[in-house]
């Protein structure tokens, strides 16, 4: 059974009243969703809020989930939309608490751990949310163009062009900051 098939089975079990099935979905995806939310919002607190509300929204709307689609794509889109809304509502864009994660249990794995990581992190924050999302999905979460297209809800061709623009912008920002990769 593939991972997607297993997800669909868990969704069906949940709809039939098995609460532990949804818990398993949370186990599976909280890390990826939190990471996506964190990369988009740049804030630990916002990322936690977004991840939590995305799971609740998914649970609430589980009956509307189309089993022919990927569960992860579905909940991922919910998460990204919510994270984007947080970013849009934040006026002005609050300083992103890159330091916040350094206080977490695993500071060494935070991208602020190295000088280049910090540069990169700052540069990423200067991209538009759309651009940041594709970079995060491609380079940090390792999705294919096709998967990104599904997650973001745009054609693969658009993913490609958006990624191209985002990478260009990222390079420009890095160069402006005096960091040559």
């Amino acid at each position: 059974m593939t991972r997607d098939e297993h997800d669909t089975m868990l969704v069906q079990a949940c709809l039939q009243g098995d609460r532990s099935a949804f818990d398993e979905l949370v186990d599976r995806y909280q890390r990826a969703l939190y990471n996506a939310a964190y990369r988009i919002t740049g804030s630990v607190d916002d990322a936690m809020d977004v991840t939590q509300s995305a799971f609740v929204a998914a649970y609430e709307k589980l009956h509307t989930f189309d089993p022919s689609r990927r569960f992860f794509s579905w909940i991922y889109r919910i998460t990204c939309n919510r994270a984007l809304k947080v970013v849009e509502q934040r006026r002005p864009l609050a300083a992103i608490d890159a330091e916040a994660h350094s206080t977490q249990s695993n500071p060494e794995v935070v991208y602020g751990a190295t000088e280049s990581g910090e540069f990169l992190e700052r540069a990423l924050r200067e991209l538009s949310p759309d651009q940041r999302i594709v970079i995060v999905l491609k380079h940090i979460l390792g999705f294919s163009y096709h998967e990104i297209g599904e997650l973001v809800g745009v054609p693969e061709k658009t993913v490609k062009s958006r990624l191209f623009t985002a990478r260009r912008r990222l390079r420009t920002v890095l160069l402006e900051k005096g960091f040559v990769p």
Binding site: Q104, V110, G117, F164, R167, V180
Partner: protein, 572 residues
């Protein structure tokens, strides 16, 4: 190979999606170009750095938070269900109040303590006014879910009671007061005590000791709501009390999202707003509160901020808006992110207060259009919202033809296009939108398809084209089937994208020609359409002499003649 292609191919190779042919081309280019190799190194290094950006571990408290939120959600959905089933609790819960209609607004209501009794025979709990007869209490089945329902009702009565206490200058309910109330002695004020709520049923008493009960009563959002002056003032209002006596509102109050929303500062202000109170007393609105989509809307910060806007609050109380709330498509649309973005915008809020917009909202086509992503995305666009402040646009929105067009996919896609949205802010386009001829044209598939075409949308970016749309002759032409068919044709679409043609549209003689039957007949002919696909022919439009010639009846008649059109085709 230019730099852009080089960069694109380098990334494709890094991503592992480059084709063999492109790889060969890229490698050949790299072999002979030093600058290209430098870029190759730079991109490879950047990709490497990006790959080093590792995933972060979620904070440890995330999982327990998710679990708590899911549990709270499960609890809230369980509490709402039993209350909404069977005989309407509103008929049973008369609440400790006189009917709102008998309470004057300037009268300070008095609180009457409650007492509760459980009948083992009927398996029913009654809570009644102490010392009063006949009792005004409520009855509820005492199965597990019924108990949860009872708890909600007790909590709601508690909420209402606390509101009354504060009105009677009783100690203000603050963080400390409510926070200190334990599971079994929550109502420890002078007026209401555990003795007042004499619940004998063991299971219920056990429930009152549970974390779930404690959680709700100690819910900061509930406390915040109760502590707010606006809420306390609102309690003096008939509409609010009536709202609180309403099943849907009570059910909604059992939902985390609604309580959080109601406890929001903006909502505090809204509670004090007559229009909002009236809205809360409206069946359609409160029934809508029971739907997840509405709760999502209400918990949205933009919506709450919008409530602070008088125009918006007034709109919320309008009949048209409340009728619209009864429509599920509308409710779903309201919960949509793009609409949420629109809530926060003053232009949208003000538009909502506009009669024409409200009238439009009460129309099914508009409501369904609101459920359409393309239309909603258009609403999220600044220019659309600016357009919504324009009377011409709002009048158009209230027009049947426009509303029907809104239900059309092609038109929705057109609306969502940047070109269209930019046109919205243009006076000439707004004038066109408001014109009957234009609106009637919207009823035509051919015209809507034309509008959805890139060529039409690109043409919209052109001043001359927009001016032409505002021109009577052009709009009259729009009323003509042949012209609309021509508009939808590739040849005409290509011509529309042509500067010369667009400039020709600025010429009165040309516009008059367009509105002419003979010309339109010619337009509809294949031969003419083919001629239009020719640049030289289209460029000729820009020539004043040519345009003037078009204004001549004889020329137009000639154009309408198949032989002439065929000649033109040959000419090209």
């Amino acid at each position: 190979m230019n730099r852009e292609r080089l960069e694109a191919l380098l990334w494709e190779r890094i991503d592992g999606v480059i084709t063999d042919a492109d790889r060969t081309e890229l490698e050949a280019h790299l072999a002979e170009n030093h600058e290209a190799r430098e870029l190759e190194k730079e991109l490879a290094l950047l990709a490497g750095r990006l790959a080093e950006v590792v995933e972060v571990d979620p904070p440890e408290e995330l999982r327990p938070r998710i679990d708590r939120a899911l549990e709270a959600h499960r609890l809230s959905t369980e509490t709402t269900e039993p209350i909404s089933r069977g005989a309407s609790p509103s008929k049973r819960i008369q609440a400790p109040f006189r009917p709102p209609s008998k309470i004057r607004r300037d009268e300070k209501p008095t609180f009457r303590p409650l007492s509760g009794n459980w009948s083992s025979e009927t398996n029913v709990i009654t809570i009644e006014e102490s010392g009063k007869s006949p009792p005004r209490g409520f009855a509820m089945a005492t199965n597990k879910t019924g108990i949860i329902g009872a708890f909600v009702a007790v909590a709601v009565i508690g909420i209402v009671a606390i509101g009354y206490l504060s009105l009677n200058k009783a100690p203000t309910i603050g963080e400390d007061a409510v926070g200190a109330v334990g599971a079994a002695d929550r109502y420890r004020s002078e007026q209401i005590t555990t003795e007042d709520v004499q619940i004998e049923q063991v299971e219920l008493q056990a429930f009152l000791q549970t974390d779930e009960f404690d959680q709700l009563i100690n819910d900061p959002e509930t406390r915040k709501l109760l502590a707010s002056e606006a809420m306390q003032e609102a309690m003096a209002n008939d509409a609010v009390r009536m709202a609180l006596a309403n099943d849907a509102v009570r059910n909604a109050l059992a939902n985390d999202a609604v309580r959080m929303a109601l406890a929001n500062d903006s909502f505090h202000e809204a509670w004090a707003n007559d229009a909002f109170q009236d809205a809360m007393a409206n069946d359609a609105f409160v029934n809508a509160l029971g739907r997840p989509a509405t709760r999502v809307t209400m918990s949205d910060r933009a919506f709450q901020d919008a409530l602070a806007n008088d125009a918006f609050a007034k709109a919320l109380a309008s009949d048209a808006f409340q009728q619209a709330w009864a429509n599920e498509a509308f409710q779903d649309a309201m919960a949509n992110d793009a609409v949420a973005k629109a809530w926060a915008n003053d232009a949208f809020a003000n538009a909502m207060a506009n009669d024409a917009f409200q009238k439009a909202l009460s129309d099914k086509a508009v409501q369904n259009a609101l459920a359409n992503d393309a239309f909603v995305n258009a609403l999220g666009h600044q220019n659309t919202r600016v357009a919504m402040t324009d009377k011409a646009f709002l009048d158009a929105l209230a027009n049947d033809a426009f509303q029907n067009a809104l239900a059309d996919k092609a038109f929705q896609n057109a609306l969502a296009s940047d070109a269209f949205q930019n046109a919205f802010t243009n006076d000439a386009f707004q004038k066109a939108l408001a014109a009957d001829a234009f609106q009637n044209a919207l009823a035509s598939d051919a015209f809507r398809n034309a509008m959805a075409s890139d060529a039409f949308q690109n043409a919209l970016a052109n001043d001359a084209f927009r001016d032409a749309m505002a021109n009577d002759a052009f709009r009259n032409a729009l009323a003509n089937d042949a012209f609309r068919d021509a508009l939808a044709s590739d040849a005409f679409a290509n011509a529309m994208a042509n500067d010369a043609f667009q400039n020709a549209l600025a010429n009165d003689a040309f516009r008059d020609a367009i509105a002419n039957d003979a010309f339109q007949k010619a337009l509809a002919s294949d031969a003419f359409a083919n001629a239009m696909a020719n640049d030289a022919f289209v460029n000729a439009w820009a020539n004043d002499a040519f345009s003037d010639a078009m204004a001549q009846a004889s020329v137009r008649d000639a154009l309408a003649n198949g032989a002439m059109a065929r000649t033109m085709e040959n000419y090209r």
